[in-house]
Symmetry: D2
Subunit: 133 residues, 4 copies
Amino acid sequence: MTSRSEITVRYAETDQMGVVYHGNYFPWFEIGRTTLLKDMGYSYKELEDENILLPVTEVTCQYKESAKYDDVVEIRTKVKEMKGVRITFSYELYRKADQQLLASGTTTHAFVNRAFKPINIKKQFPAFYQKLI
Amino acid sequence: MTSRSEITVRYAETDQMGVVYHGNYFPWFEIGRTTLLKDMGYSYKELEDENILLPVTEVTCQYKESAKYDDVVEIRTKVKEMKGVRITFSYELYRKADQQLLASGTTTHAFVNRAFKPINIKKQFPAFYQKLI
Amino acid sequence: MTSRSEITVRYAETDQMGVVYHGNYFPWFEIGRTTLLKDMGYSYKELEDENILLPVTEVTCQYKESAKYDDVVEIRTKVKEMKGVRITFSYELYRKADQQLLASGTTTHAFVNRAFKPINIKKQFPAFYQKLI
Amino acid sequence: MTSRSEITVRYAETDQMGVVYHGNYFPWFEIGRTTLLKDMGYSYKELEDENILLPVTEVTCQYKESAKYDDVVEIRTKVKEMKGVRITFSYELYRKADQQLLASGTTTHAFVNRAFKPINIKKQFPAFYQKLI
């Protein structure tokens, strides 16, 4: 399952190089995985309300072409790997106008409760687990 | 009492106009008032641990000259007004190299607890109140 | 003329108080005025390409209720005042779900060229000026 | 050569999980490599003025422990690899109070001019190249 979302680049996201600051791609990845979860029937907000948090344990990002102010960027997100207490999402960012690949990356997350203790999703939330694998 | 702090402009704080994005002055004001509180013997972190929060209810900022990447900026902060459950801090930002005034502004805060209920600082924390007036 | 735009609050925009960091409302205001300009037939990106920049000279914001993660926020923007080389936009932010007013504010901008020299919009760009007044 | 710099975590850098948002580590890495360049006798600001830009082509970050508001974080930076038109910096972030490793990561950069054309640093700037290898 690949989820699609879209953002328009904000002026605030650019830097003096005239392109989007590299760190500002991570909030876009966040929108991507939030949308993917919604497409699966889960709201990250509600997961947190039910005491399931997904702190980030690792990220990677390769930048191919610069995103620029006012560009419409398409975010394609999927689950790359799910094992034990960790999940990895992968992302591809495309400039909508010409379908140019701008960047690709991954984020890995632990499933923990609000006390940051690991949660065994497979055992405790089997329905959610089935969606993710 | 005027408190002084200093920051060096980060690349991430600039935008494609080649200067600091206007919204990025507010984290600097935050550093200013945090330093002022520390100079008074209070840590904002500890205030939060003791269930005293200072959410922002109003801000103003006038921009005179642009702050630029790698500029060292001096932040001068003082309490402008303290009344009832609200406090207003005022800030002046100077470019350190030539003491040029870059911007001035204010932030107003409510004293509340974690449930966002107002706290009467004068009655409940008289020692802290005496420092602030 | 009042323009309407919408954003969904990003996790990255929250802080440890559990609500949106106050400085993060300014990129939303930016989306509001960008949309207003688009509704008038102008793209801020194209204005910059034609050497018309709108640096911010002053901002104000009053915060009434906290915006929270995943809230859909409606941004209503209009021109408040246009005089000489300055323009002031006013903004109202509403939580879409219940039409609760979250914040209101203003941003004032100078019309300048890339060398930051003032531009007389009325004389040099009369068609644009007519839209703004 | 390992360079050391220090930052204090800003409230604005936290999110509602009560820790620093993962994307906000990249401006810290930026401070790390800026300091490393300064320790080598180069200012990134001056490099840009001389038409040498270092856009990011790849990043990685592993998060071990959460950085929290008001933590003092030590950034240790070195050149990991320099080949052809690319340079990779590596970073380790430590909580100063107890020397706990919080995160480690890398950023890879291309050397380009303002037109984003690759620069052969070894040939065109041999003195700078010698510092980097």
